[in-house]
Assembly symmetry: C2
């Protein structure tokens, strides 16, 4: 089969022919589309624990199994607790071979029919980002229709899913981004408005919006306290990333007086994966696709994500 | 009636005769015992919003109403939501006159029979600290029998209640303190062990204990990250104070990978007050009393709390 392979850290990815995977008690899916996550970029840079090369990256995929279109749950060994993953939890694409290839081996219980309203490319965009957003917004923050929601960094995959899911719930949703055009795109999709964090006046944003009940963040950093200040009493903030580094200057008095909850969240359980796909099916949500590449364009795709140019998911069409 | 009065910020409290309170649609309780909270000390130093002098402090009290012993719920206007207090929420002892007096005016629905297994002094120790601990441990952290629990700063009133409640649940409970003798006292009461944070080796403490599922803290500050590191996957940390100032150096990756929850919490709802008294009744919990003063010893009592010398509640016996 053809595959996009990371042979050495820091070196360009290479498309080459390689052996088909063995079923080993699982099943083989003929991959038709796959999608990128930040994780894939970080792995190529050595910024992830447990990296072994050569490896075929890719956690998101859809394809054919016994001729029928299926979507793949990227989880392995989430474990017994809904609260946290087991110590042996991992996802497709490291340490096991991922979806940026013609075929991928998965456990038989990790596929389900592709949502019918989605193309292969759209469905490929869904698994990891959708599951992560679902857990953050629905399980952790317990978002409800009456909540006013803020999504930070709206161009990213998880952020866009959280945005779309909150809209589907009927929430009033606001966004932040470092790019005015991304805010404009979100507004076209239904955002009530947005704040460019590079030129932000957080205080007047708080007044303008009336404050937030739920905030989904992936940045952390010193700016996190701005989010705390934007919270209404009883507010919940969930972060699934920390691209701006350590969180500092958190005022405990503001947090306890407003009875805030701050959640860290990553990935999602098998139940959350299934609930998320059901939710997408029920609300006919269509993932936002930024761009579609072939595996041969793999290095361009990785560069696009690394530079943060995307709005939505970067997808591979695999023939 | 006799009352302990704060006439001017920064000046000693004065015991003097003053007019009895008027019922004003509420009821008058003959106070028999009252108890101190850190809040009282902070108010005398001007470190609290909305201070008006002269004022009779005191949020905790028990006494007689129509000849029967009653315990007072210190809440006013908690409001409709269990998640957070209303904007008009306040508690006895500022801005309304408090319990360090022979009589206090409260709303009729704010008293309930004193738990029979407690003396007046023991029951007086319970309301605010017990309610705050109950909300933090039970409502916010959802502590269960199988959780390993850490209580920081175990000498304090709320910390001791959280400690006793966790023991009553059947949890394995550990403590921290800056005083070895406080740790020894907690061990006598059933703590599995303790850590002196002045000489702490947090890393070996984590190994020794096996990590924690629930942590109740009132310090915040730079040391908060030590608590995060001590958390097991799915762990919950709740803080109800921030005596060490802003929380800094919080590593988002550790928090989201371990799926941690960090809660700010203060006071409690009327429901939580009632649930807490029921819990104390059911488990026959006896609040720890550090010392008993008369109102005439008020300044000594305040100094004792200010210096952090106490282990348990500082109580006034009021005749």
């Amino acid at each position: 089969m053809k595959a996009l392979i990371l042979k050495e850290l820091g070196q360009p990815l290479i498309v080459s022919d390689t052996d088909d995977p063995k079923a080993n008690g699982g099943i083989i899916v003929d991959v038709k589309a796959a999608a990128m996550n930040h994780r894939d970029v970080w792995i190529t840079k050595g910024m992830y624990p447990g990296i072994k090369v050569p490896i075929i990256l890719g956690s998101d995929g859809v394809g054919l199994y016994q001729g029928k279109p299926v979507i793949i749950n990227p989880n392995h060994n989430w474990g017994e607790s809904e609260q946290y993953q087991s110590s042996t939890y991992h996802i497709l694409g490291l340490p096991t071979q991922g979806t940026f290839a013609g075929k991928v081996r998965v456990d038989a219980d990790k596929i389900r029919p592709k949502p019918e309203h989605l193309t292969m490319e759209q469905a490929a965009a869904l698994p990891l980002g959708g599951m992560t957003a679902y857990r953050a917004l629905m399980t952790r923050c317990q978002a409800r229709k009456e909540d006013r929601v803020l999504i930070s960094g709206v161009g990213g995959g998880v952020a866009l899913f959280a945005f779309q899911f909150a809209l589907a719930l009927g929430c009033e949703v606001w966004v932040t981004s470092g790019s005015d055009w991304k805010i404009a795109k979100a507004e076209e999709m239904g955002a009530a408005g947005g704040l460019n964090y590079k030129t932000a006046d957080w205080k007047s944003f708080g007044k303008q919006t009336g404050g937030f009940d739920v905030i989904i963040d992936s940045a952390g950093g010193d700016g996190f306290m701005n989010l705390v200040k934007l919270c209404n009493p009883g507010g919940r903030i969930c972060f699934y990333g920390g691209t701006r580094g350590n969180i500092s200057k958190l005022n405990p008095q503001i947090i306890f007086w407003k009875q805030l909850s701050i959640f860290g969240s990553t990935m999602g359980s098998d139940k959350e994966f299934n609930d998320m796909v059901d939710f997408v099916d029920r609300h006919k949500i269509v993932p936002v696709i930024d761009s579609i590449y072939t595996l041969e364009g793999g290095n361009d795709a990785f560069l696009r994500m690394e530079k943060g140019l995307q709005f939505g998911k970067i997808v591979f069409n695999i023939q």
